[in-house]
Structures are given as structure tokens and as C-alpha cells.
């Protein structure tokens, strides 16, 4: 069961590494939590979870594994049997396991533990002195605080489950909507500075150091100026179905335009799909020809498309399919999207709709073209990682029948 918890955490998206898991074991072996399940809950969380956005997932995992457990004594045997034969989760090198085996002298540990337990039986004094012995091995030896051990039924296990059940950290989940600052933080993932080709400047620190090392003879060191090197192009859908997300997109725009770490930042709007023109200002229909735009912006711009990608299939696939009645597009929308995707080296599509609503014919079609991410903190970060050239993959469009959603009603 103990290992179940590890896998439960992993399956809920908490990236616990085997080494972190070992630290948790180490803490248990040191006796930091044998007596008290609430304490064990705290330990597990402090050692296995490294972001408040994962606290909620942790709580859920805890609930599903430890719900019926009353005291840690109930799982003590299990911890021991695990320690005796530490099967470790996949991913842990044999080396780490070996180190763990060597570090823990089980015989000794067990003896000490039983001893403490006996002492505990004899005096229920409820003190709070922590005794630890050993400490030379990396995993520590023993050290159970005698006051806390409870032999018998009245443990605090239910309380730990209660704490988990409160799910007080639901609000910190990263798949929630974003504020400008969070967006700004996510956009910083795109930050790249280059020291190439730019003007040279005197590297004062290095000059002084080298001069001093040079016994006082002046030795001037130059280096190229540090300049931001990432250029960003943001194309945003301002169509009717985007209305519910207007504030979200607005925040994305304001965060991106305030970010000072882009060499250049350009933003345009489109209406449901991109046709001949994109717009600087949607209300005044002040347009720029896409062809012209592609001539001025070279392929090194990172392209971020923002839109729900949900439209009538004809808007995407047909000539003259544009939603605006008077607009007669000679090329179907998909042609423009392909053109954009081909022109820019790295592109992503941010969709404010949740993943389970992506079974829409045009969403599926566009997601085949652009790496599509959810416009949530998590999705945005992944998208930025992707843009920055990391091996992050967009989520798969879920299986199921194709549906035409009224997008504004299903968020």
C-alpha cells in the first residue's frame, strides 16, 4: 500500500521522484512521524510536493490511499516490510537503492524501534522531547519521540484524512484561470538573452579582476552587449464565441505587452479565423494584409495564436466562408493558417476552452496543424516551454464523438 501512494501521486500528476520518496522514507525511519498520521501527512507533503499547485492533487491521492487508516501503527508493519525489501518505483537507479540498503541497518533500527515502543508502553507521559541517536549514516538511525506514540485505537489518522478532505488548496490548482502576473511569469519562460553580434561593451568586473591579476597593468576586457533575443507575435481571436474569454485574452495581451524581455512584440486580432487580413484594432477594422505582415516579420518570431478554434467548418475550409458576410475570402481559412504555421519556425495555439471540449471538428483540424495547449497556467507554461524549444508535447485531443459545442455555455 505504501508504494501505492507513490504511484497514486504520480498518476495524479505529482512528479515525485524516487529520491524524494526515499527522503520521505528517511524521515519516517528517523522517527519523525511514526506516531502521528497528521505529522506523516505533513512530512509526505513537504518532501514529495514542491509546488502549492500540486497540494490539491496530493490531498486527493492521500484520501484515496489512507482513508481508512486510523493510526500509523496500522501501516507500521507495511513500512517495515517495505524497508526489509525496498522495491522501488521504476526510475530509481540500482545505485540509489544500493545506497539506501547500505545506509539503513534494519536489524539495529528495528531493535531500537521496538525498544522505544516498549518504553512507550511503560510510560505514557506525553512529553515532547525528541530523541535522536545516530545521525552519521545519511539515513539516520531511530529516534522516535516517546510522547507521541500511541499504541491502540485513538490515533489521529482520521484527522489527517480530514485535513486532506478539506482540500483547502483547490484554489491553487494550476489548471485554473490566470491573472496577469501569472501570465507574466509564464511568459518569462520565453526569455532568452544573447550576447552575439551586438555592440561590444567594457566588462568592468572582468577588466578589474584581470588587471589585478596582471599585477596592475591595465588589461581591458570587452564583451558583446546582452540583448533580449526573442520576438513574439500574438494573434488573438476576437470573434463572438470568444466573448466569455475576453478578459482572459485581455490579460494575456497586457502581460505580453508589458513584458520587457522581448526584442519585439507584435499583436493582431482576427475574427474566428485568419483570412487575407489581420487587424490592429478590431472595432475600427484597421487591417494589415497577412502577406505584408509575413514580409516584415521573419520566421524567427514565435507565433502564439489565441482562440477557441471553434467555428462552422465552412469558415475554416471553404472559399468565401468567412463569417463576415461582406468579406469574400478567395482562399479558405485553413490555407492561411497553414501559411502562418509554415512561415514561423515555432508556433503554438492557446485554446481557452477546456480540453474535454476539444472534440469539435474545426478544433481537431486546427490542433493537427498547430501544437494546441489549454490557456491555463499549466497549459501556458507548457506552451512557452514548447516555444522555447523544450521537448514539451501538446495534450492529445480526447477520444469521443465529435460534437458541436456552443462554446460560451460550456466553460
Amino acid at each position: 500500500m505504501f508504494l501505492d501512494f507513490f504511484y497514486e501521486l504520480r498518476s495524479r500528476g505529482v512528479p515525485v521522484t524516487p529520491l524524494e520518496w526515499l527522503s520521505f522514507m528517511e524521515a519516517l525511519v528517523m522517527g519523525l512521524a511514526f506516531s502521528d498520521l497528521v505529522r506523516m501527512y505533513h512530512l509526505a507533503r513537504a518532501l514529495c510536493v514542491k509546488s502549492e499547485t500540486l497540494y490539491d492533487a496530493f490531498d486527493q491521492a492521500w484520501l484515496s490511499v489512507f482513508k481508512g487508516i486510523e493510526t500509523p501503527l496500522d501501516i507500521r508493519e507495511e513500512i517495515w516490510s517495505w524497508l526489509e525489501n525496498p522495491v522501488l518505483p521504476a526510475g530509481l537507479g540500482e545505485k540509489d537503492l544500493e545506497r539506501f540498503r547500505q545506509a539503513v541497518d534494519l536489524e539495529e533500527l528495528r531493535k531500537q524501534f521496538e525498544q522505544r515502543l516498549k518504553e512507550q508502553d511503560e510510560r505514557h507521559d506525553g512529553g515532547n522531547k525528541w530523541i535522536g541517536t545516530g545521525g552519521t549514516s545519511p539515513f539516520g538511525h531511530s529516534g522516535v519521540h516517546p510522547g507521541g506514540l500511541r499504541v491502540g485505537g485513538h490515533g489521529t489518522g482520521g484527522m489527517a484524512a480530514q485535513i486532506a478532505a478539506r482540500r483547502a488548496f483547490r484554489n491553487y490548482r494550476s489548471d485554473r484561470v490566470l491573472d496577469t502576473r501569472q501570465i507574466g511569469t509564464a511568459l518569462r519562460k520565453l526569455r532568452r538573452f544573447a550576447r552575439e553580434g551586438a555592440r561590444m561593451e567594457v566588462d568592468l568586473d572582468e577588466t578589474i579582476i584581470q588587471t589585478a591579476r596582471n599585477a596592475g597593468d591595465i588589461c581591458v576586457i570587452e564583451k558583446p552587449e546582452r540583448v533580449a533575443s526573442v520576438k513574439l507575435l500574438l494573434l488573438m481571436d476576437a470573434g463572438g464565441s470568444m466573448e466569455p474569454y475576453a478578459r482572459l485574452v485581455e490579460r494575456l495581451f497586457s502581460a505580453a505587452s508589458k513584458a520587457s524581455h522581448f526584442k519585439d512584440f507584435k499583436a493582431y486580432y482576427f475574427h474566428n479565423c485568419v483570412y487575407e487580413q489581420v487587424f490592429e484594432d478590431m472595432s475600427r477594422w484597421k487591417g494589415v494584409d497577412v502577406e505584408q505582415m509575413l514580409k516584415t516579420l521573419d520566421g524567427s518570431y514565435r507565433l502564439v495564436m489565441v482562440g477557441d478554434a471553434s467555428m462552422a467548418p465552412s469558415e475554416l475550409l471553404s472559399r468565401y466562408g468567412a463569417i463576415d458576410y461582406y468579406h469574400r475570402n478567395e482562399q479558405p481559412g485553413i490555407y492561411r493558417l497553414e501559411q502562418l504555421n509554415d512561415h514561423f519556425e515555432r508556433t503554438v495555439w492557446l485554446n481557452p476552452m477546456r480540453l474535454h471540449l476539444w472534440r469539435h471538428p474545426t478544433v481537431i483540424r486546427i490542433a493537427e496543424l498547430f501544437p494546441m495547449f489549454e490557456l491555463t497556467l499549466d497549459g501556458l507554461e507548457k506552451a512557452m516551454e514548447y516555444l522555447a524549444g523544450k521537448k514539451t508535447l501538446p495534450p492529445d485531443v480526447p477520444e469521443g464523438p465529435v460534437r458541436y459545442w456552443r462554446t460560451d455555455r460550456y466553460y
Binding site: L43, A46, V49, W130, R191
Partner: protein
């Protein structure tokens, strides 16, 4: 050699939740750095002061800035002073050691007793900063190439690292830390915190202050919600101004101590109107 575990339970002027105490204790026992995050004003920085006080250990602080480099924390080699001395001074410049100034981390690693080291706002520095510290924090030792000396900590310090989430911290760094997120205190805990800072406050007034404070925090889409430390300041202002609980029912004096953005003030005013104050 027997080693006693420390047990941190908060101090008289710093109230720590059980989860936070456990995180501190496990970090101290496993000798891992403790990474603390949380809303601004929830006492991340003060935690280190409280640990130092509670466990009677000396505190070393390292306030990280955007220009801070990892080696600054270990030591600074003052080449300029040495150059100056070689030309105009009368010191023996062959001894480089006198031009090595230890930084906070360096001091913590060379101290004779166990210390508490606060690395404040680690996310302010460059993205690579935490990675550059990995080895020193892991092995608790460092090497000074200028003098060829290696120092190894006799007593591994309790390292408290705070972050405001401005930058994502590298995974390798996170794996080595014990992590705790300081939750925003609920009303009960907040009342205790208020009592610690303003022991003489009337119960009714305190209640009304908290009432108003949580109402403010509940307003939708505030850019910056007021924090604990701002509440403490606000109450101090109210007490100094002799504002009574009755007044507080009708208006919000000294709002500037709680709300710092113009947009937010607007929102508060709107919310007050719609609640028919």
C-alpha cells in the same frame, strides 16, 4: 555521537501552523534546505528569524537581488583593495586571505556553531542562480580557488529559502528542498496573530477589523489582496487614530494601508456602494 533533534514550535511573536512546524523540523533533521512560498506578507522571511530565536541559534541573512551571483554568498575576493595595497599600502599583499570576505553562506558554512541561514527571495536572481548553489547546499562545503582552501561545514546550517514565485525554480533544486507553502491564515489563526502584535486591542474592535479585512479580501479580482502584515499596520493605525468599532461599521479609515493600487481602491469603493454602506 548522539544528536538531539531540534523542535520548533513557533515563538511567542510568531505563530506557526503545525504543518509549518513539521516542515521546519523535518528540514532540520534531514539537513535539507527549507523552501517557503506563500502570499506576500504571510511571514516567510520572519520564519527564519523565529527559527533562530526559537532554537537559540545565530541568524545569517542573505537578501538576494536581481544582480546577485551564487559566489557572492560564499565569498568576495577584493582584487581592487589588493591592487591598491600593492601600490600604496603597507600590507603584505602576498597573503590573499586578507582580501577574501566571506558572504552569508560562506559564514554559515564556516561557523563553529549551528546557524540559521536565510536566503531571502531566491527567485529575484537569475534563473540559473539556484542551480549554482546546488553543490554547496548539498555538500555544505566550498572551495576558494584564490587561496586553494576548502571549507566544510562542521555544523550544517538550517537553511531557509523564500520565494515569491517570480520565477520558476529549477527541478533539480526543488528535489533537494523541503517545501512548504504558507497558507493564508483563517480567521481564528489571524485573531491569534493580531493578539500577538496588539495584545491590548478590544475584542469587539479586533472582531470588526477582521470582519472588514476578510470582506476586503473577498472582493473579486483585486490586483493585490491585503496581507497579514498590512492588517497589522492597519490596526496599528486604527489604534493610534482612536477609531472605534462603531466607526468601522460605517467606513474604512486609513484604507491606504491596506489597498495599494488605484484600480483596487476603485473596486473597493464600488463594492462598498453595492453593499449599501
Amino acid at each position: 555521537m548522539a544528536k538531539n533533534f531540534f523542535i520548533f514550535k513557533g515563538t511567542r511573536d510568531y505563530i506557526a501552523s503545525p504543518a509549518l512546524c513539521d516542515a521546519v523540523n523535518v528540514a532540520a533533521a534531514l539537513e535539507r534546505p527549507l523552501l517557503v512560498k506563500g502570499e506576500p506578507g504571510t511571514g516567510k522571511t520572519l520564519l527564519a528569524y523565529s527559527i533562530a530565536k526559537g532554537l537559540s541559534m545565530p541568524l545569517l541573512t542573505w537578501h538576494v537581488k536581481s544582480t546577485t551571483k551564487a559566489t557572492d554568498g560564499l565569498y568576495v575576493y577584493d582584487a581592487v583593495a589588493r591592487l591598491y595595497d600593492s601600490r600604496f599600502g603597507d600590507k603584505d599583499v602576498r597573503d590573499i586571505r586578507q582580501y577574501i570576505e566571506l558572504g552569508p553562506l560562506g559564514k554559515a558554512l564556516t561557523a563553529d556553531e549551528r546557524t540559521v541561514l536565510l536566503i531571502d527571495e531566491v527567485d529575484k536572481a537569475d534563473l540559473e542562480f539556484p542551480n549554482d548553489l546546488l553543490r554547496e547546499l548539498d555538500e555544505m562545503s566550498f572551495y576558494i580557488p584564490e587561496t586553494g582552501e576548502t571549507f566544510k561545514a562542521k555544523n550544517r546550517p538550517i537553511v531557509v529559502i523564500t520565494s515569491n514565485n517570480e520565477k520558476e525554480l529549477p527541478d533539480a533544486f526543488l528535489r533537494r528542498c523541503v517545501f512548504h507553502f504558507i497558507e493564508f491564515p483563517g480567521k481564528d489563526l489571524m485573531e491569534r496573530i493580531v493578539r500577538v502584535h496588539h495584545p491590548d486591542i478590544e475584542k469587539k474592535l479586533a472582531g470588526q477589523c477582521l470582519e472588514r479585512f476578510y470582506w476586503l479580501r473577498g472582493i473579486d479580482s483585486m490586483r493585490k489582496r491585503p496581507s497579514t502584515s498590512e492588517l497589522i499596520d492597519w490596526i496599528a493605525a486604527l489604534l493610534a487614530g482612536g477609531v472605534s468599532e462603531k466607526v468601522l461599521r460605517k467606513e474604512l479609515p486609513f484604507l491606504g494601508t491596506l489597498v495599494k493600487h488605484e484600480d483596487d481602491l476603485e473596486k473597493v469603493n464600488r463594492a462598498m456602494r453595492s453593499n449599501h454602506w
